[in-house]
């Protein structure tokens, strides 16, 4: 029963969504939106487990004075602090906690955004180091990777304005539109079929690792 009930539920919800895709008549038209709305509420409760896991881990660290327990204090206190700020902002701005001027807005603007943008910008460095390592003409496949990358990169920044670079710019555009797009489409169709098969296996209860 501990297996059958969840598997049956998976089957029923899956089929309900598929049916609602084909039948626009009431009440089927509302099924999809309603079920997706429900998953948001469920995800909200799941967050409680996340918080428990996080606090449990770090409070244990602090209690045991493990290596780096000071950082656990930082993490926990910022978590609790920002959460309280968020709730206060939500109450003050009637649910729109991110309204300009709210405290949460400041936290977001001067902490979350710069930190995210900086992490994101690390890619400028990593894309260079990855290119250095990976683009070696040692095997045919790697050579193809290398040649295509070099052509497109040169096409992006015409260092000198002449006929050759103008051609290169247009060629690299073509390269993105045709051969690149071809492989991308092939992969994408494959992914869609793989997803289709996986979804079918899940709905039919063949694939059940996630319900261990």
């Amino acid at each position: 029963m501990r297996r059958q009930i969840p598997l049956l539920l998976t089957f029923l919800t899956g089929v309900a969504i598929i049916i609602s895709f084909f039948i626009p008549h009431k009440p089927f038209n509302e099924v999809q939106d309603m079920l997706l709305d429900w998953t948001i509420i469920i995800a909200g409760f799941a967050m409680l487990l996340g918080i428990y896991s996080l606090l449990n881990k770090h409070i244990t660290h602090i209690k045991r004075k493990d290596a780096g327990w000071g950082y656990s204090i930082i993490l926990t206190s910022f978590f609790i602090g920002v959460f309280i700020v968020g709730i206060i902002s939500a109450v003050r701005y009637k649910g729109y906690s991110l309204s300009p001027g709210s405290s949460l807005y400041y936290v977001y603007d001067y902490m979350v955004i710069p930190l995210s943008a900086t992490m994101f910008s690390l890619l400028a460095f990593f894309i260079a180091s990855a290119a250095y390592r990976a683009f070696r003409a040692n095997k045919l496949n790697a050579t193809l990777l290398l040649v295509a990358a070099v052509i497109v990169m040169l096409g992006r920044v015409p260092v000198v304005e002449n006929a050759f670079f103008r051609f290169l710019t247009r060629f690299s555009d073509w390269f993105m539109f045709i051969p690149q797009m071809a492989a991308k489409r092939g992969i994408q169709i494959g992914v869609a079929l793989g997803m289709f098969a996986m979804s079918l296996r899940i709905i039919l209860g063949i694939e059940r690792t996630y319900l261990q």
């Binding site: 539920l9 998976t10 919800t13 969504i17 999809q32 079920l35 997706l36 429900w38 998953t39 509420i41 469920i42 995800a43 909200g44 409760f45 799941a46 487990l49 918080i51 950082y71 930082i74 993490l75 910022f78 978590f79 602090g81 959460f83 968020g86 939500a90 649910g95 902490m111 930190l115 943008a117 900086t118 994101f120 910008s121 690390l122 894309i127 496949n141 193809l144 990777l145 040649v147 295509a148 990358a149 497109v152 690299s172 073509w174 051969p179 690149q180 071809a182 489409r185 092939g186 992969i187 169709i189 869609a192 079929l193 997803m195 289709f196 996986m198 979804s199 899940i202 709905i203 319900l211």
Partner: protein, 238 residues
């Protein structure tokens, strides 16, 4: 050893450049900008190696982002979708009449969500499978019908715009050979092997091209951060 000295030397130069600019420029008077700048530099310090500053910024980042997202989830899931409709706006009362359908539409997901907490009990821990099964089932349904529309049909259709041209020929060959590469049930030998080989060439060329294409966008991100440090924070550049 010599190499490490060189690296330290290089990093020191970078730091000195920033110090000179700090003296020459008009640093921002906004404390929040200072916090943002210090956090930015702390993250960058990780490029040299793991250190106190990065550890600090990292733990702060995780803490702040969890606090932020929990407060947003609190608002979106609990207040807006459960608490308000149940107790404040009472959406389940239509024209003064109680609608069981609308009432259950709020209560059922709430009960499903509460089952998540069953994990903390030894005996009823399996109940958590019910909400998990529900979520997975819904999206597996989505994975069949709508993704059919979005991927299989659209991609096939745009491949089908065939004209008498080399580009069109390359497109068709590329899509078909790539698909052949993903054949799993036959060994890739003989004709099938050769075709799949062409497929992997296409895949490699495509990956190389999109790698090269992305470089510009990634460098732009760094330019953006530099602009923040040099303009907003240090005020060296007007």
């Amino acid at each position: 050893m010599k190499e490490r000295k060189g690296l330290i030397f290089g990093s020191v130069i970078l730091i000195v450049v920033f110090i000179i600019m700090f003296i020459k420029g008009e640093p921002s008077k906004n404390i929040m900008v200072w916090i943002a700048a210090i956090l930015t530099l702390s993250i960058y310090s990780f490029l040299y190696k793991d250190n106190v500053f990065y550890k600090f910024a990292e733990h702060l980042f995780v803490g702040v982002s969890v606090g932020y997202s929990v407060s947003v989830v609190w608002q979106n899931a609990f207040i807006r979708r459960v608490f308000d409709p149940l107790f404040i706006t009472r959406t389940y009362i239509v024209d003064g009449k109680f609608s069981l359908y609308l009432f259950l539409a709020i209560v059922i997901p709430t009960l499903l969500g509460m089952l998540m907490v069953s994990i903390f009990t030894k005996k009823h821990g399996w109940l958590i499978r019910i909400p998990i099964a529900f979520v997975v089932g819904s999206y597996a349904g989505m994975g069949i019908a709508p993704s059919f529309q979005a991927y299989i049909f659209e991609q096939t259709q745009s491949t089908l715009y065939v004209t008498l041209s080399i580009s069109s020929f390359i497109m068709i060959v590329g899509v078909i050979t790539t698909l052949v590469y993903f054949f799993f049930s036959k060994e890739h030998k003989g004709f099938l092997g050769k075709t799949a080989g062409v497929g992997i060439w296409f895949i490699m060329v495509a990956f190389g091209a999109s790698f090269g294409y992305t470089v510009m966008a990634r460098i732009s991100l760094l330019i953006g951060r530099m602009n923040f440090l040099l303009h907003d924070w240090l005020g060296v550049i007007k």
